[in-house]
Structure formats: C-alpha cells, structure tokens
C-alpha cells in the first residue's frame, strides 16, 4: 500500500516535471545563472561561505526561471505560429496558461523575496532584472519595436551585476563593466538568431532588426557589439584580477568572436551566421568560467 503511494507520488512528480520544466528554458536560465555566479565569485573567490553561494544560486535560479516562465506565458500566441516554437507546452495545450502564470508568479515572488531577505540592494537588482525583462521588454516593447532588445540586454546584465553586488555589498565599476559585457553580447546573441529565423518572426509579426533595417545593417551592428563585448569583458576581467595569461586567453577568444562577426559581414551565409550564434554562446560561457575560476 505504502509502495503504491510512493509510486503514485513519483509519477505525479514526473508529470509535473515534464509539464513545467520545459517552460524554464534550462540552457538560457543556466547561462544567466552562471553569469550571476561569476559576478559573485569575481568578488568572493575563494568562497569561504558556502551558505552565501547556495543562497545566491537558489534565489537567482528562482527569479530567472520565474521571468522565463512569465515570458513564455505572455508570448504563447507568438510561439504558436512559429515552426521553431509551436511544440512548446503552452502552444500545444499540454500546459494551461493559468497553470504557467501561477507557476511563473510563484517562482518570481520566491526568488525576489529570498533575494530581498538576503540583501536589499541585491534584491532590488534581481527585481529590476525581472521587471525589465517581463514588463518592459516582453509585455511593453517586444511587439512594438526591434529596439526592445536593448531592454532585453539590460535585463540580461542584471544577474552578473546582482552576483557582484551580493559579493561586495555595493555597485562598483567592475560590476557595471560585467553587466555592460553581457548587455553588448545580447545583440550578437539575439540578432544572429533573428537573421536565421527571420521568416518565423515575420510570420509572427514580431519587429526585428533584419525586418526593419535589413540584413547588412544587422550584421554591422553584430560586429560592433562584438567589439564592445570584448572591451567590456576585458576591462572587467582586468578589474577582477585575472592573470595576464588568462587575459591573453580571453583576448584570443574575443578575436575569434570579432573574426566571425566580420566574416559574417563580408561573406554572409546562414551557416556562418548560426556559427556566430553558437560561438557567441560558447564565448560568454568561457568568459564567465574564466572570471569564475581564474580571478585572483
């Protein structure tokens, strides 16, 4: 009897997991969480207080997941018409909108509440990230203007800034530089995506840079943003205290990013553009890992 009850609970948990886990976009959430950890470790390496690290991880994970779920809830009508996203749980009806909304609100409130409890300034920045992402970017601007990605970039830079603030208790130039690095990286990430899935976004009537300004202008913006990303992360890494060896490594990876951006500009092709998207993701992951583990 007890065994059957346990099996029932496990099955219910599996059903819950299958229904709601896809809503949090684990890869994107994981990368943003990593930036937050990198921001924290840039100030607190080696970590002497494991409970601080766990609290940061938990609160950020909840807040980031919550904002992602709320975005997916709001954009379910767009997702339903794009081939790339039409199989998402909200588009297929596997998850009801009300369930997703409640789930997203619970995650968001838990994350922000926990963050505010840990440190008011840290909590404020976590809240700002969620507010800019869900309210400003997704609800207000995404369907009106392609410049919405600027606010998407600002919200994307909040986790790393929040992590740094949690580590040192205040906002400093290194934290700002880290946030700017992510902000300038976001156009490379999103605009390469919008070039590849241009037709999808046109179908869904979402304004994009390629749609409004053309592919060539979009690629020029990507090249410029790659340079700014490298400069910001380079300055931040120097401020964090990365040794010259790791700064050289970061410079090499940055050169690769810039090379691909220029190549995409001079010899445009879908393969090169999506290659740039993948390399940019790998670049941000590598940069954050370097800051996480290699800072003095």
């Amino acid at each position: 009897m007890a065994g059957k009850r346990e099996i029932g609970m496990i099955q219910r948990f599996k059903n819950f997991w299958n229904k709601f886990f896809p809503l949090i976009k684990s890869l994107q959430t994981g990368l943003l969480l990593l930036t937050g950890l990198a921001g924290f470790m840039s100030a607190r390496c080696p970590v002497l207080n494991i409970s601080d690290l766990l609290a940061l991880t938990g609160s950020l994970a909840l807040a980031i997941s919550g904002s992602t779920v709320l975005n997916m809830w709001y954009d379910r009508d767009i997702d339903a018409v794009m081939p790339r996203t039409c199989n998402r749980p909200l588009s297929t009806g596997e998850t009801q909108p009300s369930e997703a909304l409640v789930f997203g609100l619970i995650l968001s409130a838990s994350g922000i509440g926990w963050a505010l409890f840990l440190n008011p300034l840290y909590g404020l920045i976590v809240f700002a990230g969620l507010f800019f992402d869900v309210v400003v970017y997704t609800i207000w601007l995404k369907r009106k203007t392609p410049w919405a990605i600027l606010w998407g970039g600002i919200s994307g830079g909040m986790p790393v800034l929040a992590g740094r603030v949690f580590g040192i208790g205040t906002v400093d130039w290194v934290g700002i530089a880290l946030a700017l690095g992510v902000l300038f990286w976001i156009p490379t990430h999103i605009l390469t995506f919008s070039i590849r899935y241009h037709d999808d976004y046109q179908t869904a009537r979402v304004p994009t840079f390629p749609g409004k300004y053309g592919f060539h202008t979009t690629r020029v913006i990507i090249a410029f943003s790659s340079v700014l990303t490298a400069l910001s992360l380079g300055a931040a890494s120097y401020g964090v205290g990365l040794t010259w060896g790791f700064l050289r490594l970061l410079a090499v990876l940055s050169a690769g990013l810039f090379f691909l951006a220029v190549w995409s500009l001079t010899s445009p092709s879908e393969r090169i553009t999506f290659g740039l998207f993948k390399y940019a993701s790998l670049y941000m992951l590598s940069a954050m890992l370097l800051i996480l583990f290699a800072g003095r």
Partner: protein
C-alpha cells in the same frame, strides 16, 4: 574529441604554458596557439564545409608560422630576426598568392611556407634536447 583536446591544450599553452618568456616568443606562441584554438572551435561549430574559404587558408598559415617563430626566438635567438622576416614574407606571400595568382602557384607557395615551418617545429625541439 580530438579537436576539443587540441583546443583545450592550446588554451592551456596561452594561459599558462608561455608565462615568463620574452615578448617575441610569448606573442608568437599566443598568436599561433590562439589561431589553433579558435580554428578548432570553428571546426567543431561550422564543420569542415563551413571553412571552405581563402581567408581560412591564409589565417591558418599563422599556426605553423607563429609556433615555429616562437620556437626559434625562444631556443635559437640568434636567428629570430631572420626568421621573423621570413614569417612576415611567407604570410604576406600566402595571402597575396591566394587572391592574385593561379591555384597551382598559390598551392606551391603555401606548401613551401608550411614545409619550412613544419620542419622547424619538428627540428628545433630535437636540437634543444640534443644540446
């Protein structure tokens, strides 16, 4: 897996393997291993087909030239200036030949440059060990 291993080894060389060296070998190794690192990552991401480009051939020439320059300037400093001139000339000639000369001539120049650099990459460590 082989490409990832090469990329990781190159990253190690750049970040830790060349610390304490004089400027010329340090930057030669950095550019050589850096180009190798980025090339490996691009092979993994783009596949072999995505790298069918004259630019790729020219840029990848930097790998053997710079690594051999690092070896020469580090272990045979007497010849470093001479070899630096050869590297600059070889890199420029490879680039120019790819764009302005026939396929056979371009391939010949590429082969000569790579052959000389390759021989040095093999021979210089042997010379150092024997000495």
């Amino acid at each position: 897996m082989l490409l990832l291993a090469a990329a990781l080894l190159s990253a190690f060389q750049i970040s830790a393997g060349v610390e304490g060296l004089p400027s010329l070998p340090l930057w030669a190794y950095t550019i050589g291993f850096g180009t190798l690192l980025v090339s490996c990552l691009m092979f993994v991401i783009l596949g072999f087909k995505g790298l069918e480009s004259k630019t790729v051939v020219i840029v990848s020439t930097a790998i053997p030239l710079c690594i051999s320059l690092g070896l020469v300037s580090h272990h045979l400093p007497t010849y470093s200036t001479l070899y630096l001139i050869f590297c600059a000339f070889g890199f420029t000639a490879t680039g120019a030949a790819r764009f302005f000369l026939s396929g056979k001539t371009a391939s010949l120049i590429l082969a000569v440059v790579h052959r000389i650099a390759g021989i040095l990459i093999t021979a210089v460590p042997l010379v150092v060990v024997i000495k």
